[in-house]
């Protein structure tokens, strides 16, 4: 019981950092929260709504994303897109990720 719980916690911690990178990488074209969620899921990354929406707001507050409300099909939707600041740091994050992956691959081989 305790083991499953700690396993879940570790997995959650591992994914948390990845989601930021995943979201930033997918927002070069603007998307609203639910469409981003579906897009991530189609590519194999299942993210909880309760994680993604607050995260998008946080990234916007940090200046990495921009957002705008648009009225579509009689429904207002908040569209997010990567900001200039976000574009600047995305390559660095990608490089960081590649480094982590190559180090861990070797370590876990």
């Amino acid at each position: 019981m305790a083991n499953t719980e700690s396993l879940e916690n570790v997995v959650l911690e591992l994914r948390r950092g990845v989601i930021v990178l995943a979201a930033l990488s997918q927002l070069s074209t603007e998307q609203y929260g639910y469409s981003l969620l579906k897009q991530l899921s189609e590519q194999g990354l299942e993210v909880d709504q309760g994680t993604l929406y607050p995260l998008l707001r946080r990234l916007e507050a940090q200046g990495l994303l921009e957002s705008v409300w648009k009225l579509e099909e009689a429904r207002p939707r908040r569209y997010y897109v990567i900001s200039a600041e976000g574009k600047k740091i995305l390559p660095k994050l990608k490089k960081e990720w590649a480094d982590i992956v190559s180090v861990m691959k070797k370590m876990l081989a």
Partner: protein, 341 residues
């Protein structure tokens, strides 16, 4: 869609009072409507209440959803927590020491008026003292928590540089202490005692006196007369300045010319105040008149008055000496540091 609307406003109720609350609600509503629409399409029939219920059940309870938007799921966050602990230790330490001293003085004055050692009255004072420490500590804990909650919420830039976080040079361990480095424990002790003094002076002036017990009756005489009251704002000013400088020193961990000058001014002001004290007549509360309604005979009262006046004068002289030593230390420190530059 009725249920979605109710759900969204329920989430709104649980959202923290942060900016963009309406925005969050609007985004949540739009998302839920999208999801519902998708489900209806898949099922090949228009959305109904059963679908709505299923969707909302999966989305989670309004409290849980609201929680995910809370950037501060704590009262006192990790940013200020170390400083919170430090202040709490100082305050608890100060309360324990200060109130123990008060209780001991009460016990001694009881003994001097004929209350037997370990008698019920004596034990009562001890128990009251312990009770006082506990209740004051709990109240103080509350005040400190409130202060830090306010800092957490409204002072986003608040940050204390603990020594460990600064660039730390292990070579410092081997070196002789620097003349400019401060003694942390000395500063903390000074803050504690100044704080206790400030608290007693302003909130518990009634303990600055002597209780006499004679049978069922107790009789209280304050140490200082009303003349003393006009000194309180000045003492407060000096004490607060002292605490401010000490906290500044704690944060920066090193003496500078500015802090040395500030210290000299404060100690100088204390010295002047202490001297004015000694020279002010009628400042001491123990007079023949104050014993007029007491159960003591005039001879006993006179003896008390003489002893009390002499001891209080001695006390003030001790304070003058201590302050002078501090003042001289601060001046020497300043001169030395200026010479080094």
């Amino acid at each position: 869609m009725k249920l979605i609307n109710r759900y969204v406003s329920e989430v709104g109720k649980h959202l923290p009072l942060i900016q963009g609350r309406e925005d969050i609600e609007k985004e949540l509503r739009s998302t839920l409507e999208d999801m519902l629409e998708e489900r209806a399409e898949k099922a090949g029939k228009p959305a109904d209440e059963a679908m709505e219920i299923e969707l909302l059940k999966e989305y989670g309870s309004p409290q849980k959803v609201a929680m995910t938007y809370n950037p501060h799921p704590y009262l006192i966050g990790p940013r200020v927590f170390p400083f919170f602990l430090m202040i709490l230790k100082i305050v608890f330490f100060g309360i324990a020491i200060g109130l123990s001293v008060v209780t001991i003085i009460q016990l001694l004055s009881q003994l001097s008026t004929g209350v037997a050692f370990m008698s019920p009255d004596f034990m009562k004072t001890i128990l009251q003292g312990v009770g006082n420490i506990i209740s004051t500590a709990i109240a103080a804990f509350g005040y400190v928590v409130v202060a830090f909650v306010l800092i957490e919420r409204f002072v986003p830039d608040f940050k204390i540089d603990f020594e460990e976080e600064k660039e730390w040079d292990p070579a410092a361990l081997a070196k002789e202490p620097d003349a400019d480095s401060i003694s942390r424990s000395e500063l903390i002790a000074e803050i504690v005692f100044t704080f206790v003094g400030l608290a007693i002076l302003n909130f518990y002036p009634q303990i600055l006196g002597m209780y006499f017990f004679s049978g069922e009756e107790s009789f209280f005489i304050p140490i200082f007369s009303d003349v003393f009251l006009k000194f309180i704002p000045w003492i407060n000013l000096i004490f607060l300045a002292e605490i401010a400088v000490d906290i500044y020193l704690l944060r920066n961990a090193v003496w500078t010319t500015a802090t040395r000058v500030a210290k000299i001014i404060i100690e100088g002001a204390s010295l002047v105040l202490a001297i004015v004290f000694v020279r002010t007549t009628d400042i001491i509360g123990f007079t023949a008149e104050s014993f007029a309604n007491s159960p003591f005979t005039p001879e006993q009262a006179e003896r008390f008055v003489t002893v009390a006046n002499v001891s209080i004068t001695i006390g003030i002289i001790v304070v003058v000496v201590i302050v002078s030593v501090e003042l001289i230390k601060a001046v020497i420190g300043l001169v030395r540091s200026l010479n080094r530059k």
